[in-house]
Amino acid sequence: MAFFGFAHGVHPPEEKGLTSGLPIRRMPYPAEIVLPLRQHAGKPAKLCVKVGDYVERGDPVGLADGYMSVPIHASAAGTVTAIDLWPHPDGSYAQSVHIKVDTYAMQAARPRLVPRWEGLTVDQVVKAVQDAGVVGLGGAAFPTHVKLAPPKDYKVHTLIINGAECEPYLTSDHRTMVEYPERVHFGCRVMMHTLGVTKAVIGVEKNKPDAIEALERTRPKDLDITILPLTVKYPQGAEKMLIHAVTGVEVPSGKLPVTVGVVVQNVGSLAAIAEVFDTGLPLIERIVTVTGHGLTRPANLIVPVGTKLKDLLAYCDGVTKDASEVINGGPMMGMAVANLEAPVLKGTTGIVVLTKDEVRNEKVYPCIHCGRCLDACPVFLNPSWLGDLARVKRYDEMAANHLADCMLCGSCSYVCPSNIPLSQLFQASKVALRRTQTAGAA
């Protein structure tokens, strides 16, 4: 069996064994649910409920505000108790709808909120996916319907499905592929039909043989779907790296994948599309890996969107004494959570609790130009040089040296023996650069 991969990259400890063998279970409803209206890339949803309203499971609390936006739906039946600014997992505050969960709610028979897929036109599918609030579940939460309707100037020939899950610790995509392979294939069918492509490739890192086996076993015979084992390497799941591994083509710097005729979707998003069309309910829950050496009982859970992190951690019997940091997402690109009142979002792939020994707290030494970051950078930047420039705030020069191509994967910071926070410097430089550019334009 040949394996496909990319040059450079790093090999952080995988630590997936904590949860990779645990079946997905459902978490009971918490007492209160908090739904931020800003959960996806693009414009936040527009509020459409008021305090005191009673909402059923699946009712919208926020409506899509334009094309680059999706609605937010109530993940449990209950009463809207407050609408305020509430801690967001990204560290800011966002307008959020609080719902006091009605424990004794009747699951009355209701008409489907999402139509059946069969017989829908392409435009109707795109509309249905938007109305169901589906976004990319790989972390970035990019509205899925936008990817379903690529610009007409480009001919899409291949759908690539991202099952790499290269972040350490996380296993939600892995378990989805093992337990719900039919949903992945069904979602794949919907996407292929909508995009009008005949070829799909599911890339899975070869450290998940059971997932590859499950996908092979359930592969529909009438579709051209290839399951491609990938080398185990971080960041194999980065969009451009995955496309390169699958097609051998480099997406031009600063361009979208569609320019090389490819659309990339995450396996979780496909399963979500399948579930939405299957059950008729919008996207109101997702699979979250709750794990880490700082957690008492790691698990893969189906969590209602809007569950507070403190409730989620409490359901996993809480954190251990030496727990030191809670990460929203994987430990390489995820953000540390400042406030456990923040809720689970549609884009929350996992919650990782790191212990005191794992978190970075070493002294920063001067750059010794060892070149390890150059060997690690998946897009062939020179992080050492960019880091030097960032420290003296020469942002324009950084832009000329392709700062925009940095996807903040963190490989450079991971390998840096001097412990220089390169990826943090680049993030800050990108913000500073954007600020000067907007100031220049005004």
Binding site: P13, A336, P366
Partner: protein, 332 residues
């Protein structure tokens, strides 16, 4: 559940276990076999010379360097390497002065670790070569009693050293001034005259291979230096037999120590892998030119120092091609 005491840091939250001090101290530790080999050939004198140069380097770093900069281990490496590149009979005060000069003018004055353009150990040695040309080119013969001093090590500063030790020319000196070739076996094992640590090629090679395997040493520059020196001198030898052959050139003098330990100093050689090849090939060519056509018998030190000066330029022209930009150029 009680609220845990949480911290917030920037991603990535995982970190490879290698740190700069760990790399530096491992490199320093890998020099121990080289030091032991030199003690085997030159007795206690070599240990004393290395001690003196290291002490000079460490004290200067402690006195002039940034607070706590001793812990990163780089001053240790400078001191050890300088000691290894000196003749075993050099007065100790000179060795210590060389270490102090190397750290002071080769590193601290530039801004400390990571900022210097030239290899500090070689700066120290170049200073000694200019200041004390006789002492640094007096090469005692290896062997003899372990405790017999190889020169007037305890001479007072600026006094004429008194020495009745048997000296002999280095293999390169022998070749240059008397046209005598030393056998390659002697060169590989190290039973020849020369600096404290530059005689036993095989021990240096083994230590270097260990470091390369650990990932603490980039193999590209040493390999390209050694291959270039071998090929270039073999070609010269092929056209005119009066020039030394490739094997002799590779295993003689300070080439092995320079290629393995000094041309791999991360701070002063190019950061890019392409650049390291360029650096190595150019260094190798300069070594051959100085040794074969120049007035000095040995040229490794100057070759590396000259190429150190070109490092920023090499870096600039060997930047990696960013992912997705090749196609862009074609499109234009």
């Amino acid at each position: 559940m009680t609220a845990p005491n949480l911290i917030v840091t920037a991603s990535p939250h995982l970190k490879d276990h290698d740190t700069t001090p760990r790399i530096m101290w491992t490199v320093a530790a890998s020099l121990i076999p080289v030091i032991l080999a030199s003690a085997f050939f030159f007795g206690i004198s070599s240990i004393l010379v290395i001690l003196a140069s290291t002490l000079g380097a460490l004290l200067t770093e402690r006195g002039l360097g940034r607070k706590g900069s001793l812990q990163d281990g780089s001053a240790m490496i400078t001191g050890l390497l300088l000691g290894l590149s000196l003749p075993p009979g050099i007065p100790l005060w000179m060795a210590a002065l060389g270490g102090a000069f190397g750290i002071g003018f080769g590193k601290v004055i530039w801004g400390g670790l990571g900022q210097n353009a030239f290899n500090p150990a070689l700066i120290g040695r170049a200073f000694l070569q200019t200041a004390f040309p006789v002492a640094i080119t007096t090469w005692p013969t290896p062997g003899g009693s372990f405790f017999a001093l190889k020169g007037d090590l305890f001479a007072f500063p600026f006094m004429h050293p008194v020495s009745d030790v048997v000296t002999s020319a280095t293999p390169l000196g022998l070749f240059k001034f008397e046209q005598k070739l030393t056998s390659v076996v002697d060169l590989v094992l190290g039973t020849t005259g020369g600096s404290v640590g530059e005689t036993s090629a095989i021990v240096i090679l083994i230590c270097g291979a260990y470091l390369a395997w650990k990932g603490y040493l980039n193999w590209r520059s040493p390999v390209s230096i050694l291959v270039t020196v071998f090929v270039a001198s073999q070609l010269l030898h092929f056209f005119n037999g009066k020039y030394p052959d490739g094997l002799f050139m590779v295993f003689s003098g300070g080439l092995m120590l320079g290629a393995v330990y000094m041309a791999t100093d991360m701070v002063t050689v190019p950061t890019t892998n392409k650049g390291r090849w360029v650096f190595g090939v150019c260094t190798g060519l300069i070594v051959v030119v100085i040794r074969v056509f120049g007035g000095l018998p040995e040229g490794v030190m100057y070759a590396i120092l000259i190429m150190n000066a070109f490092t920023p330029l090499i870096n600039r022209v060997t930047q990696p091609t960013v992912f997705g930009t090749v196609k862009l150029k074609e499109a234009k």
